[in-house]
Amino acid sequence: MSRVRTYAQAVNEGLHQAMETDQDVICYGLGTPDPKGVFGTTLGLQERFGVQRVFDMPCSENGMTGVAIGAALNGIRPVVTHQRVDFFLLAMDQLVNNAAKWHYMFGGQGSVPITIRLIIGRGWGQGPTHSQHLQAWFAHIPGLKVVMPTTPADAKGLLISSIFDDNPVVFLEHRWLHNAQGDVPEGDHRVPLGEAATARTGDDVSIVAMSHMTVEAIRASDHLKAQGIGCEVIDLRTISPLDWATVLASVRRTGRLLVADTGSRSGGVGGEVVARVAEELGDVMKCRPRRIALPDCPTPTSSALTLGFYPRAAEIAQAVGSMLGLPSGADALEAQRSGPHDVPGEWFRGPF
């Protein structure tokens, strides 16, 4: 029996479930108990679990990350939410110098089971400081786990697993996925961290994607299938630790790699995937690997400037076509675009 929920509802269910399962789970962040409930993801929590376990906080990102760490060291499992990745730049010290290293540097005396929910902004003029993707940063830090769910079911399942993981987890939600719909299992649904999902199978190219780029990759893949091109779409789900076994097995079979990264190109996660594959399989590839990513510049605000900024399915299809030397029909795919390019859907009317 199908149980359709939005991604935001799935996150909300995951939070309810985790708080229900274990009373050591607490949940806070700017706006957590406010009437909008962080795009609906935290609605109802305070009513249900009380002001001790669910609360708002001062505008103090670094301090409140340290508070989460301290509480975690005494067995609490804090889930801290920030409305944008960008705001969390203030908290890198606590995350990197303390949370990521604590278990290691104290020789195992203590661990830091915190989950940091960060939302990646996009569109409607979010601009330079409301749409950064920093998964590459988090993935570069030993000791952190980094999760980027694409589907509502994974959002719920990975969130619960993140909360009950004994390590600090950075949980990245893409703003354009919050309204996406999908089947979401009831109850204590868990998806293990560190396992990629094969969203589409195919023999010609491996497309390694994450978060919202998985949606675009699937769109491209479905379109290419009609042109007779088979794409294997791997949704990384966890960025760190990354499921190399799945990635390498797929590329070993297809001999071609395209990475679709939501972040900017230079020094991004896409580069790491290309590098690792080149190191392991460079001499058995059928063509050069490629990556699709954001350009190396800050995000502009004007909708006129974001027009070609975010690569979409058509760019993926085109890249696949050119890797195979086959027509991709990318133009047709592009032509299917309708409505303004800078909103996640017709329902969105601004402002964030």
């Binding site: 979010q126 800050p298 004007s302 006129a304 400037l305």
Partner: protein, 328 residues
């Protein structure tokens, strides 16, 4: 600085009123037109808080510096920022003050000393202090003014910036608009009961004063006095102004339906609207007439509409502009 309020008396009062009404007119016109979906960026309107923008803005010189945060329309206009460039920016046009790169949350007009507003809470506070350091190094008598909300005083960087400003006796005016909320979060969930920001600022070594932000004359007087003493080299000053925002945190609407502001509090503050209250007092004092007010409103609306037309008629930047200007 729209007009010169240094001329005391009537002209100064009119200038302050004009400045507030102009900001109000811009904001209300944005609100009215936002649903057209042509202003495609988050906008944080400042209706209700015009007293601070006008009072401080008119007290600053054009060569003084100012920086601000996400809710900066009023600060930009009060400092004399170019209206057309601001509206064009909000429309994402190449004629915008950032050529479309920044949007509502990033305003700049270097020609009048408005050095920039940014979207990270507290982010420009140390920048304002750095501008103060540069003034001290250059030995001019400029002042650097930093606008921020009470939420920004919860960020550690506020204390770091203040400490350095006091340590080095820098010419910085800290202007905190305390509108009781950060987004939908009331003070009670963010700061302890009875917190006195002025008390803290004072203990950190600044002269600190609290004023009523909806009384533009009070704001103006306090700002003028502070600026005067800063120019004389007596170091940074902290001014906190109590005020209230009329519209939703971000976007064009009223959001009384959300219920996060107690209704009696809302009504109380709507009754304290800085513009109506000042108009009333000027009418009573016969400094202006109803006809003057109507004429001002009409003229302002015409200017604003014209600026909107300019913004709408302007071209969008070329898509390839997105990839230019990463490095200076």
């Amino acid at each position: 600085m729209i007009a010169d309020p240094q001329q005391h008396g009537v002209e100064q009062r009119k200038a302050l009123l004009y400045c507030m009404m102009r900001i109000r007119c811009v904001e209300e016109t944005i609100a009215a037109r936002y649903a057209d979906q042509k202003m495609r960026c988050p906008t944080h309107l400042c209706t209700g808080q015009e007293g601070v923008s006008a009072g401080v803005g008119c007290a600053l010189r054009s060569d003084d510096f100012a920086v601000s945060g996400h809710r900066a329309h009023g600060h930009y206009l009060g400092k004399g920022g170019d209206l057309r460039a601001m509206l064009a920016e909000i429309h994402g046009k190449v004629t915008g003050c950032c050529r479309g790169k920044g949007g509502s949350m990033h305003l700049v007009d270097r020609s009048v000393g408005f050095v920039g507003s940014t979207a990270i809470v507290g982010g420009t506070i140390p920048i304002g202090v750095g501008l103060g350091l540069s003034i001290q190094l250059r030995g001019t008598d400029q002042v650097s003014c930093v606008f921020f909300g009470e939420g920004a005083t919860e960020e550690g960087v506020f204390y770091e910036a203040v400490n350095f400003a006091v340590l080095r006796n820098l010419p910085v005016l800290f202007v905190c608009e305390n509108n009781l909320y950060s987004v939908y979060s009331p003070l009670a969930v963010r700061q302890p009961e009875g917190r006195s920001l002025c008390g803290i600022a004072g203990e950190m070594g600044m002269r600190a004063e609290r004023g009523y932000g909806n009384d533009v004359l009070e704001v103006y007087a306090k700002a003028q006095q502070a600026i005067l003493s800063i120019r004389e080299g007596t170091g940074p000053v902290f001014l906190e102004f109590a005020t209230y925002r009329h519209r939703e945190h971000c976007g064009p609407n009223l959001d009384d339906d959300l219920g996060y502001q107690p209704e009696d509090e809302r009504q109380l503050w709507l009754g304290r609207d800085p513009i109506s209250r000042f108009q009333r007092s000027l009418l009573v004092a016969k400094t202006i007439t109803d006809r003057d007010l109507d004429a001002m409103a009409v003229a302002l609306q015409r200017d604003v509409d014209e600026a909107f037309e300019f913004a709408e008629a302007s071209s969008f930047p070329e898509p390839t502009d997105a990839y230019e200007g990463v490095y200076a």
